[in-house]
Assembly symmetry: C2
Homo-oligomer: 273 residues x 2
């Protein structure tokens, strides 16, 4: 056994540990989020006056995700939306958004997700998006992006081959993300694509990785909103950066596209603003 094979085996063992922890974490989170989703349809829902089930579910879900991560990797850093950052001297950090798409969550639409990314130093090398109501899991890890549903065998994800705006299916959560010249640029982009659709939050990026749509353009994202989605998109063959072509890993104004050509065409319109 030569060194490269050995390294590869060690690498695989690490990947398996990361994957298992990501899956354990989203399963733990689902036990908190699902009972709070669609309280109107839940027979078990017993709300006290003034109790906010969404905020509560958000905080509790992050708490259980942190517990899973700390059990598996006690020295890693953890950055979450709802609780204080856990600072350590580890080069690894986990980035959590327990419920991305709060508006989808509170209106009963199953396009919100639990997002967890893992970074080594500056590089986000793994990410998961889970939609527990539909039972879907999108995972970017190693060199692959995979999809599974209700625990089915994972299938590889590949972005579409669309290169031109006039063939592209575009999504953004809402045009209200944009203002002023940026809004004008976005509306200009929308006029040039095959179709535009609103209201999909993190689900849109996963549909992009799956080849179901071709372009996502959003403004004002934070690191929790996007970190987990980067490996899912890049491993599926997509390109994701900020409007000016910088790395997407800190959030900001984001273009995600099925191909480099389509990404460039969208950037040509959005980057000027």
């Amino acid at each position: 056994m030569d060194i490269s094979t050995n390294t590869s085996i060690i690498h695989n063992i690490e990947e398996t540990a990361f994957e298992r922890t990501l899956l354990d974490a989203i399963n733990a989170a689902a036990k908190v989020t699902l009972p709070a989703f669609r309280s109107g349809l839940s027979v078990d829902n017993k709300l006290d006056e003034g109790f906010d089930p969404v905020t509560q579910a958000d905080k509790e879900a992050e708490q259980v995700i942190r517990q899973v991560i700390e059990g598996a990797f006690p020295h890693h850093m953890i950055i979450g939306e709802e609780h204080a950052t856990k600072q350590t001297d580890s080069p690894f950090s986990w980035i959590i958004d327990p419920i991305d798409g709060t508006r989808a969550f509170i209106t009963g639409v199953p396009v919100w997700g639990t997002l967890i990314g893992i970074a080594h130093k500056e590089k986000i090398f793994a990410g998961i998006m889970a939609q527990p109501f539909t039972g879907e899991v999108f995972l970017g890890l190693g060199s692959k992006s995979t999809y599974s549903r209700f625990g089915s065998d994972p299938k590889n994800l590949t972005t579409s081959k669309v290169q031109n705006l006039d063939e592209a299916r575009l999504m953004t959560t809402t045009p209200a993300l944009f203002e002023g010249e940026q809004l004008q640029a976005y509306l200009n982009l929308e006029k040039q694509v095959r179709l535009a659709r609103y209201g999909c939050d993190c689900y849109a990026y996963c549909l992009l990785a799956a080849g179901e749509i071709d372009l996502v353009v959003e403004a004002g994202l934070n690191i929790y909103d996007i970190a987990a989605l980067i490996p899912i998109i890049e491993n599926a063959g997509g390109t994701i950066t900020t409007f000016d072509g910088s790395p997407a890993d800190k959030g900001g104004n984001i273009i995600a596209a099925a191909t480099p050509q389509l990404h460039r065409a969208a950037m040509d319109i959005m980057a000027k603003k």
Copy 2:
């Protein structure tokens, strides 16, 4: 046994036959629509050049729905979006939209639905909405609206108690449904509600019946888009009419609301335009 009891028994037998036929029809349609949904994720997808899976699925789904209806009620009229109306002298007519929410369908978002309504003369007295990917069925029949998922026992649906715009969760498929003064009125309405969300097609009306949202406002609907949803909303306690308060059963510009008070408040804004 007095006459009223007897009538009630006959009525129940009829209801059971209608319900069984609606369920048979949506199950038959799902066998056509699901394989065409998310072709990018389907390993079995073998598309020829120039073959449009959506149009094909739409037509085939309506065909199998018609077959189920004709098997059970051979003399009833059938009005569908994709095929010619079947005219008879029966007072009963079935109104079909095999895939409502085509844009959701072709972008992989599970908020499209198969809609079937049943009218006796002018009155639409039964309707079903099925979302086969999520396994959800919303049924309005008799005096009830019910929800079931993957064949679970039906639960009764009830709209929320929201009466005021500033508490209301509003949905519309896209603001692009509105133009000119109507768009201004809609944007005015949007400013007054608690939150507005886009992109949900027929799913929005079902979320309204389920108490998850409070208000749906859309323009330019046709009879296929809305017929099946009317009993689902009304039996759950909601109010649905056109902007000027006329019956919704022919389509047009539609306001659906959780309560009569909220419906009136939305109509006060939209009816002027």
